[in-house]
Subunit: 165 residues, 2 copies
Amino acid sequence: MTAEPKWLDTREDRAWRTFVNVHHELMLRLQRHVMADSGLVLAEYEVLAVLSQHPDGLMSAQELGSQLRWEKSRLSHQVRRMQDQGLVAREPNPADARSCMVRLAPKGRRTIEEAAPWHVQHVRRDFIDLITPEELETLIAVNERVLGHLADRAGSEDSVQGKGK
Amino acid sequence: MTAEPKWLDTREDRAWRTFVNVHHELMLRLQRHVMADSGLVLAEYEVLAVLSQHPDGLMSAQELGSQLRWEKSRLSHQVRRMQDQGLVAREPNPADARSCMVRLAPKGRRTIEEAAPWHVQHVRRDFIDLITPEELETLIAVNERVLGHLADRAGSEDSVQGKGK
DNA sequence: AGACTTTGGTTGAGTGGTCAACCTTTAGCT
DNA sequence: AGCTAAAGGTTGACCACTCAACCAAAGTCT
């Protein structure tokens, strides 16, 4: 990189830093709460939450993964662990022999139904309720813009530039 | 939890989901970029970045940690790994024998100076430049509000409520 | 001075996530 | 049909982060 880049000014730097920090600390706190309330780790909660909102708590691994925006291997590991605990079950997918279905087990349903109200309350208290409606709209707009941008670039990811040095 | 909680409405849910997703995908992308550009992992970059902005690249572990908002054990592990790579060095702290100082090693300085412009450019392209100045102010305000809130509650963290069930 | 607490830091165990390699099935092409 | 490529998942290795236990030095209180 020969020319000096545009460094971040004070506001930009602050926006970036706080963005990173807020996420980290919020997640840490929610993790501890959900663990205290239900014995789940956050990742388990998220899987159960998505599953429980589908008819019969049944969906293909891939749909589950794409909804969570998780990599397939991450999901696979997670599902294995949760299967060991009896929270979910794997079933063959009749429509595609490569694929597999993940089903919410009874224990999983009980757990999520008990945990969800608490979790929502914590998300509210530590995040949503601190934000005005206008700010909320701004957040959504910005986040979706960034996500769209990232999705766009996701494919065209060889055209980086000459590489440092 | 006897009474039904206030569930998240569509906008709130969206704000929360996109918030989580944006962070995850941005970090993933930045991690890959900084790795491709300089061979560093993001955590290493962050440590070097903070160190390089201090006189002589020297600061106490605790100051480093608080600036990064990292737990002490995380920092300790990270510094050890980076020391093994010759990016930083540990030195005794003359002012306090319990403490220790972390110094930016020459190799660390070269690395960060080469990596920083690229990193900044990526943060810009994938985040900052997608945000209008007014939105940026909103972001900062919201993030700092949430951080303040979290810091407040950090201490008083036994007064949870009756617990589920 | 002597005990008690607090602070700064390290360590090891356990866990979660990424990556790359692999296998199987499905889709595409001729 | 037959060959190749792509898609869905699994696995194992590796690494980073958290948590709890621990240690030594500083501060505090009497």
